[in-house]
Symmetry: C2
Subunit: 278 residues, 2 copies
């Protein structure tokens, strides 16, 4: 039997609590927690994502500051702009929309984000924090995945989690967060031999490949938990959803996606509060 | 059949090349690359290790600076001392001997090491660098393990590597370095269920548990590569060496251990050169 892990409802809860905390912050300071979003170029999907993040921010009582840079922006210019936001006391969180144009050194740009404003969890500092189990900001999608598993009472300790994909902002941090929660974690990728057999041993599967319907139904052990972090053209995930017959699984859309934005907003509000407490 | 991966010979090669580079540095600058070692308390094993590192440094033409602090040193005092070394232009590399007394926040102490002097690869910055495949300093033992595998022409790409242990300076960085070399990596630990069965699927096993003879002979798939990073009292590794009958395996002692120090010296010399080039 297939049961769904619905991210939409969970996200609503997370955003509701974040908006209450945002209201408390505004009451105390007269200001709103502020998320700065940075986009380079005009990739339509990225533009849509960023707009969505801004809209949700406003609805939750956050302020948003938007920086749109032209496609031809250099790494140096982007780094300078992000440093400016890192130094701006009115900005609490910074999000650089991924991916940036190919000519830009994305890692250099991410590293220009001050660690205490890294509400999207993309810096090297945040990654190591996630890996070592410190209470740094988490990468939003992996963070949302853990929240989903917890909301559906999925036991993680001692379970075998197989993460397919190893990007620095999705696969690797997801693996590290699952490990911090005491899963036995296997990280698979394009060079993995015998992927179907490995996935069949998984109690928890995290698909983070970016290829539509890549994970086949018969790769899934009956009763496994399947988290589809893919979001491909045409609202299709990385898992062949219809072919999975016995699992607790996230739908696409309405699974991982909404929790990502919710965690982003929550961490922005937390950043604002932490700064007050510091 | 059991074949040995001998670290002693490999380490000799690495140190030889490092000492040539050190001599070149001295010829150019009139100074020697300098490694600062810091120890807190008087744990006999730690004292021995540090002395060994100093002796090897001297033999390789490096200078060493030693800081011995009393057991009752506070985190603040240790951090201040390490910051001083981080700021000292005559020091190229800093090693804080692990473990420190329990009352000290080891992570805070490690983070006081400037990233460009982190020749032992223990900072959050270095960990993320290893994870993302940048050319930062590597954690010395995991770095030595990769060098051993390469020296013995072990294919890593696409192979299943099982790392037992997940400490921030051994298990986790070893997993990340193997992943960066395109292994499929499983990270196991004390909460792992069915450990023997998982280890039996491994092409490459890295034992980093710190428990004598913990890994049993019948856990090892015939023909597997076994890296024993354990070093327990009485010169005993984490693997029940005598019970492993068909593998390419590191002995203890004379396996991983010597390569650790060799990588430390090499990275110290590299740090000195990089500083010149910077």
């Amino acid at each position: 039997m297939t049961n769904l892990m619905r991210g939409t409802e969970l996200a609503r809860d997370i955003v509701l609590r974040a908006s209450e905390k945002a209201a408390g912050y505004t009451e105390r300071t007269g200001r709103k927690p502020c998320l700065a979003t940075v986009i380079v170029g005009d990739d339509p999907a990225s533009v849509t994502y960023v707009r969505m993040k801004q809209n949700r921010s406003h609805k939750a009582g956050l302020e948003s500051r938007h920086v749109a840079l032209p496609e031809e922006t250099t790494t140096g210019e982007l780094v300078a702009k992000i440093r400016e936001l890192s130094d701006d006391p009115e900005v609490h969180g910074i999000l650089l929309q991924h991916p940036v144009p190919r000519h830009i050194d994305e890692r250099a740009a991410f590293e220009a984000i001050a660690p205490h404003k890294d509400v999207d969890g993309v810096t090297m500092h945040s990654f190591a924090g996630m890996s070592f189990g410190h209470s740094e900001f988490v990468s939003c999608t992996p963070g949302g995945i853990i929240r989903l598993l917890d909301a559906y009472d999925v036991e993680i300790t001692g379970k075998h989690a197989v993460v397919i994909g190893r990007s620095p902002i999705l696969g690797k941090p997801a693996a590290m967060l699952l490990l911090a929660r005491d899963a036995t974690v296997t990280i698979c990728h394009s060079k993995t031999a015998g992927l179907p057999e490995i996935v069949r041993t998984a109690d928890i599967v995290v698909a983070a490949v970016g290829k539509p319907k890549f994970v086949q139904g018969d790769w899934i052990k009956p009763g496994a938990v399947v988290v589809d972090a893919g979001y491909n053209e045409g609202n299709v995930g990385d898992v062949d959803f219809d072919a999975v017959t016995d699992a607790l699984i996230t739908p696409v859309p309405g699974g991982v996606g909404p929790t990502t934005i919710a965690v982003l907003l929550e961490q922005t509000v937390d950043a604002a509060w932490r700064e007050l407490d510091a």
